[in-house]
Structure formats: structure tokens, C-alpha cells
């Protein structure tokens, strides 16, 4: 057995952001259920607790998003490269990756994508994360901030069309985020072993070959 090579895939700020974000978003989803359906759901002792927890988690997500943004935009300065799919990704990459997930994965073939720090996401991840990080998370955070400050920001709320429109946007985007979460967590277990992708997100280091399937290597 040859010594495994390891690559440093997830820098510390990204990992801090990610797990703060995950904790925040899961808290948001859980509290949100009680906030929307209070007469049916009684997870937290009272309604106010659910609201305050939701507001706090929203601030955590907004704060960690800022951290993420600052890191990629100002420190590592490779946001564009990491997150925006290239022309090649759009033309061939996405199809290739989809074919892997939907067909060749089941046949036991290797993942066509090999992550490097500069190109750590496969084309499908890139597109999904682009939508999540540049659209969903900012918009949910922004609508959430408005919803926690309705009176002082009434004019902005009216500009959007009113409180109810704001709620509708917040609710539907949040559902999308939650739907992403299901898919995301599932796909995160799709490595060689279920933890093979999750561990690097925690430690930063990826064992070379985590995404590969062995009969090619052996």
C-alpha cells in the first residue's frame, strides 16, 4: 500500500464559516417550523423562545456569511475561480458530472472530478454553490434582517411590496435552502466512505483518492 498523499483543501476560515453556517441554518429550519405552525408544533417551551432563537441563528448565519465573503473576496482572492463555472464546465462538465451521479456511480466507476485547492468543486457543485452563496443565503439573510426590524425599515419593506410579500420571499427561499440542505448532506456522504468528504470539511485535509473508486486504483 503506497503512502497516501493529502491535500489541504479547506482553509480554516472556510471551515469555521461552514460549521457556524450549518449550525445556524439547522437551528433556523427547526425554529422556523414552530414559528410558522405554532398551534401544531411545540418544540420550544414558548413561542418567544423560538422567535429569539431564530433571530439569533439568523444573525449567526449573516455574520458567518460575511466571514466567508471577506475570506474569498479579500484574503484568498479566488472566489471567482472557485465558485463560477467555466465555459468548459457549462458545456461538458455538468453533463459529465450528472452522468456520474445518475449512472456511472451506480456501476462503481470513478468520480470524473479530482479536487485541487483551486478547483475543489465539481461543475455541479460550482453551479449549486454559486446559487446558494450568491443568491439564496444573502436574500434569506436580508429579508430576515428586514423582518426583525419591520418598524424602523418600513419604507424598505414597502418598496418590496409589503410585509406579506417579504414573508413570502423569505419563506420560499428558506424552503429552497432547506431543500438544498437535504441534497447537500446526502451528496456529502457519497465519497469512498460516508465520512470521506465530511472529514476534510472538518480537518481541512483530504486524503487523495477519497472521491475515487478503488477498482481503478488497484
Amino acid at each position: 500500500m503506497s503512502p497516501k498523499t493529502r491535500i489541504y483543501l479547506q482553509p480554516t476560515p472556510v471551515r469555521i464559516w461552514h460549521w457556524l453556517n450549518a449550525l445556524g441554518i439547522i437551528t433556523l429550519c427547526v425554529t422556523a417550523v414552530q414559528i410558522r405552525f405554532p398551534e401544531h408544533v411545540h418544540m420550544f417551551a414558548n413561542y418567544k423562545t423560538a422567535i429569539l432563537l431564530h433571530n439569533a441563528a439568523g444573525l449567526v448565519v449573516t455574520f458567518s456569511f460575511t466571514l466567508w465573503f471577506i475570506y474569498y473576496a479579500l484574503v484568498s482572492r479566488n472566489m471567482f475561480k472557485v465558485y463560477v463555472p467555466s465555459k468548459d464546465d457549462l458545456q461538458y462538465g455538468i453533463l459529465r458530472q450528472a452522468k456520474f451521479y445518475l449512472l456511472t456511480y451506480f456501476l462503481g466507476w470513478a468520480n470524473p472530478h479530482h479536487p485541487t485547492p483551486e478547483n475543489k468543486f465539481n461543475p455541479m457543485q460550482k453551479s449549486a454553490y454559486l446559487a446558494i452563496m450568491f443568491l439564496l443565503v444573502p436574500l434569506v439573510s436580508l429579508t430576515g434582517l428586514l423582518l426583525t426590524n419591520v418598524s424602523p425599515m418600513r419604507d424598505l419593506v414597502l418598496l418590496i411590496g409589503g410585509l406579506k410579500i417579504l414573508i413570502a420571499i423569505h419563506f420560499l427561499l428558506a424552503c429552497s435552502l432547506c431543500a438544498f440542505l437535504f441534497t447537500h448532506v446526502y451528496l456529502a456522504t457519497l465519497g469512498k466512505t460516508p465520512m470521506a468528504y465530511i472529514k476534510p470539511m472538518w480537518t481541512g485535509w483530504e486524503e487523495e483518492g477519497a472521491e475515487e473508486h478503488p477498482h481503478k486504483a488497484s
Partner: protein
């Protein structure tokens, strides 16, 4: 034939007789109002706004009933006329209020002008709050309530104090038309006055601003039309949860600490709403709104939302579909993954 018309005549006479006390009251009222309805005659302090007074329940009682000691020589006699105490006629409310802690802080007349009385459904929530604001200053209330109430400013602006500080067995959503202060882009919204509404309705009865087909009922379609009409951009609907009756104990009700009294009552409790419009005499008139209008997903009441209780069912279903979409990969892919696990067998070693 003759008998019939006789009966008719008697009927007319009888109905006139039953109306007599009111007609007398009205006649006497107008006698007093010759002077007291005119600020030039008696000065501002002693003026009673005729339009306002004439449509109160007290107009039927009449000036004399409450100022019984008044003489024919008034005002030249120099005597101060008597002023009836409220408990002479309102013993029930008087007892209730008398037993409350608040009776030590304020009299009936601190909150009521006997010449401008209205029931709780004939005033706006904002007007009710003006009564309390005489003694309980808004900024102070924002501060004390903000200690425990999330978004206290939103609550204090959109709820009558009595919704939390007085018991009622029924609450409804009252919609008021508010208007942006003229000529400004981001100016404050204030309750639209009768005159302002009249300007917008272009001479038609102001109800027609929303009730376009004039059937005395506001359908969801009419509500949406009003909210989307660009010509009425300066006007908006403000919703308030208002009591249908109120108890006069003005205390802190225990369950009003608990947000769920309002927010977890469920959409079932939010079915009844009214549009409440300022009239020329200062009272508010209500027009029934289609059942469940405030639960409409978007344009029924675009700026009224009570978290938890006015959620839209349609949006719930859209949300569910989105979430189900998120489960396609875990469930669909997961199943195939399990079935084909042998193909990837040696990787687990």
C-alpha cells in the same frame, strides 16, 4: 279601504309617538347648540362640535338629561349647570371599572368626552390609543414594553393597547386606510381623514375607493384591486387586531405575556375582518370584508401579516413541493445506491 287607511294613520301616529322623546331631545339639543355649536358665541372651551355630537348615542339622551339643573335663564343666571355622573346610567361599566386598580388612576372623563362617545367598533385603534397616550407616553411605553416584547415598536403601532389590557370575547382584524404625508417619497403614513379620502374618491362616496361595485361588501378581488392600483400608491391598508367589546378593567392580562395568545390562535381565528373608514362626523364605519381575506397569499393585505397566524395555505403547499424536491436525491439516489452497493463493494475495505 277606509279602515286600512285609518290603521295606517294610527300606525304613523304611534311611530311618531315612540320617536317623540328623541325628537324632543333633538329639538332641545339644537336649542343649546345655537350657542354651544358655535365657537364665536361661547368660545372654544365650551364648544360642542355639532356634527360629532349628533351621531353619538348621547345625542338621543339629550343635553337636558345630563345637565338637568339648567334653567331657562341660562346663561344669564350665572349658575353652573349640573353635570350627570356616568354611573347614573352606566352602572355595569361603572362597577367593573370601579373594582379595577386603574380606577385609582383615571376617571371616566379622562378617557371619554361625554359629547363624543363611541363604541369600540366605531372608533379606530389609533383613536383608542390616543386616550391612553394622554397619560402613558408612547416613548415610555416603547421602552417598558421593549424589555420583554420583541419588536415593541411594531406592536405598539399596530395594536390598540386595549387588545392586551382589556378582555374581550372576540377579536377581529380591522383594516384602516393610511396615507403617506403628501408630497413626500418616504414620509410617514397617517390615518387618512375623511376629507383626504374624499379627495381620492373624486366626489364619489369614499367606500367606493375599495368597494368598487358599491354592494356594501368587500370581496378579495376588490381588496386586491385596491392594493395594486397605482393611482392609490399613497394609500395603504393598515391592519390591527381589535376587540369587539371591551372590559373596563385595564389590567395586565396574564396570557398577553404569552405571544401565542395572538400568534398561535391559528388561521381559523383570523377569518373575520372589516374595512373601517373615517366618516364626516369623526366616527368610523365598518364594511365587512370577505372571509379569510387577511390569509390571502400576497395581495389581499400585502402589508399586514401576523407571524404564525395569518400564514397562507397556498404558500405552505409550494414550500412543501420545494422541500419534497430536496428529498429526491436522498431518497431516490439513496435507494439505487443501496441496491447497487455490490458494484462498489471493494472500496469499503
Amino acid at each position: 279601504m277606509r279602515i286600512l287607511s285609518k290603521i295606517k294613520q294610527i300606525g304613523l301616529l304611534m311611530s311618531l309617538l315612540t320617536l317623540l322623546p328623541f325628537m324632543v331631545a333633538a329639538m332641545e339639543n339644537s336649542e343649546c347648540m345655537d350657542c354651544h355649536g358655535d365657537a364665536d358665541m361661547v368660545g372654544k372651551e365650551l364648544t360642542i362640535e355639532p356634527l360629532t355630537f349628533d351621531n353619538t348615542a348621547h345625542a338621543e339622551v339629550g343635553c337636558h338629561a345630563c345637565h338637568a339643573s339648567i334653567t331657562d335663564q341660562h346663561p344669564d343666571d350665572g349658575l353652573a349647570p349640573s353635570k350627570a355622573a356616568c354611573n347614573e346610567c352606566h352602572d355595569e361599566v361603572n362597577d367593573e371599572y370601579g373594582n379595577s386598580l386603574h380606577a385609582g388612576y383615571a376617571d371616566c372623563n379622562d378617557c371619554h368626552n361625554p359629547h363624543q362617545v363611541r363604541g369600540p367598533t366605531a372608533v379606530s385603534g389609533q383613536d383608542m390609543n390616543l386616550k391612553c397616550a394622554i397619560c402613558h407616553e408612547r416613548t415610555e411605553m416603547l421602552e417598558t414594553h421593549g424589555e420583554w416584547l420583541p419588536q415593541a415598536d411594531l406592536h405598539i403601532s399596530n395594536l390598540p393597547c386595549v387588545t392586551c389590557h382589556s378582555a374581550s370575547d372576540e377579536y377581529v382584524i380591522s383594516l384602516y386606510i393610511i396615507k403617506r404625508q403628501s408630497g413626500t417619497m418616504f414620509g410617514k403614513f397617517d390615518l387618512a381623514t375623511y376629507d383626504e379620502l374624499h379627495e381620492f374618491s373624486g366626489g364619489k362616496p369614499i367606500e367606493r375607493l375599495v368597494d368598487t361595485n358599491a354592494d356594501g361588501y368587500i370581496s378579495l378581488a376588490e381588496l386586491r384591486m385596491f392594493n395594486l392600483d397605482p393611482a392609490k400608491k399613497q394609500l395603504r391598508l393598515q391592519g390591527m387586531m381589535t376587540p369587539e367589546r371591551l372590559s373596563h378593567d385595564f389590567m395586565t392580562l396574564d396570557n398577553r405575556w404569552d405571544c401565542s395568545f395572538c400568534h398561535a390562535s391559528g388561521p381559523g381565528a383570523m377569518q373575520v375582518s372589516y374595512l373601517s373608514l373615517a366618516q364626516g362626523d369623526g366616527a368610523f364605519k365598518r364594511i365587512a370584508v370577505e372571509k379569510g381575506a387577511v390569509l390571502d397569499a400576497l395581495y389581499g393585505t400585502p402589508d399586514f401579516y401576523m407571524v404564525g397566524s395569518t400564514r397562507s395555505k397556498a404558500l405552505n403547499y409550494v414550500g412543501l413541493v420545494i422541500l419534497a424536491g430536496g428529498m429526491v436525491m436522498p431518497i431516490g439516489h439513496g435507494t439505487l445506491r443501496f441496491l447497487t452497493r455490490k458494484n462498489r463493494k471493494n472500496e469499503e475495505e
